[in-house]
Amino acid sequence: MTATRPFWRPVGYYAGLTLLILGSLQLLPCLVSVVCREWNMALVFLLGTGVSVLLGGVPVLLLHQDQPMRVGWREGLAAAAGSWLLGMLLCALPYWLSGSYLSYLDACFDVMSGFTTTGLTLVQDLDHLSNGLNTWRHLVTFVGGQGMVVLALSFLAGGSGGAYTMYVGEGKDERLAPNATHTSRYIWRISLIYLLVGTVALWLVGLRIGLSWDRSLLHGLWIFMSAWSTGGFAPMSQNILYYHSSAYELATLVFFIIGSFNFALHHAVLQGNRKELRRNVETISMTVTMTLLTLIATLGFIRANLYTDVAALFRKVFYQLISGHTTTGFMTVYARQFRTDWGDLALFAMTVAMLVGGSACSTAGGFKGLRVAVLFGAFRKTLRQASAAESRLIVQKYHHIRDLVLEDGTIQSAFLIVTCYMITYAVATLVGLLCGYPFVDASFEAASVTGNVGLSIGLTTPAMPAILKVTYILSMWMARLEFISVFVLVAILARKAVKR
């Protein structure tokens, strides 16, 4: 008789470990609250830390074993997907206790929006939020960008046998080092290097535009965390428009473009392989799609006779378009301007940009430039094969860190993920329509949540129906994890429920 492998042991252990680390992270905003003398928020974060550490620490203590824990694919994928859901429920506690949200569902929506680097928010009176809560909101999005499982893995002492399965379960698949633990640490090292560079840069720009040194520092830190993670949260309700500064816009533009790059690309470039920037298929794909979509959006505005000088066109159209393309969600226009100023042509370009998204294995969402390039390569290969002699075998190559042959498995995988994105987008649009919103609004917002973008046409408010909030939470979660790990978790839970 063969012994069945204990499924819940590794899942519970690693989910507990992730919660433990997320709980400990709340000590950072707690520190900010103490420094800023926000005593109520400091207590809220202490309570949040206590609850998370208790709920995460108990399974870690109970399920810990001295021998290396075997983690198969289904355990790893389920642990990753489950950690995100449990993490959302626990990290929403400080949001809810702060009194800035109308319901726990709204708080959960904001946490999932942060973790998935979407950037849509249901907070009340954003302009007067405490510094502690603002730090927590931006920290959540910064951790979500790198991946909370990636964060947990980077604390593991050695390479765990199944760590790679959890790493993949979080929608990342590049190996920067021989094992997932070292890969996770490398991802964090890259992000922390940029955190230093970006915060200093935005701090200096903030000082130049007249912010006080402490406000400039905090805003610089928060905006950088949001830009790098392609998140889109900002401390003010007017988002980046609040700063009324082209220098601030340019600085954020540079950081969120870099943030949308593949971590494997960062790794190659920071190791000295700078040619990779112009050879990589993802940067080429992004350059092409960005140029074409900018062209389409610009034509739309020229037809509408709006923004007729280059500076306005650049700051109001290109900025939004690239913010959408990198799935950041920073805005220099008001949400309703998408409805009133952006014509159908520009909105089409924006919707496509949001769905395409940034790079694979990055902080960005969308179905990714790599998959666009793979599908384009497959199309080219099919055309070349059809026009070649029957006996000739066509080999299509592409360059991503190294020269790769486009194989059927890669094409199938890319097609599967893109299809899942399109189905999620269609379902989210449909639910929006069923809730009574016009097609343009429902479609734009659905593209924004599916691509984990965060740009809003004004539909996402605390007043929207609960069913739409839940749909958007699920869409953000599934799209960020790239579906497979969520499907595995749901399948396992359903099978266990049927057996009972």
Partner: protein, 59 residues
């Protein structure tokens, strides 16, 4: 060390851990600068496309 054997700091061993670490830091800094320049290049394309389109449209 250059190809003709000249070295700006002859007393420094190029294989010493300090020099290797310094070289690694410099590579990282150059990598960060390269990424920033590439992002600015993409921004430049956006500016150029906007400029050309407006020019062609006679605005």
């Amino acid at each position: 060390m250059t190809t003709n054997g000249w070295h700006p700091f002859p007393s420094l061993d190029p294989r010493s851990p300090a020099v290797i670490r310094l070289r690694r830091y410099l590579t990282t800094v150059r990598g960060v600068l390269a990424e920033i320049l590439f992002a600015l290049f993409l921004v430049g394309i956006g500016w150029l496309v906007s400029f050309v389109c407006l020019g062609v449209a006679g605005k």
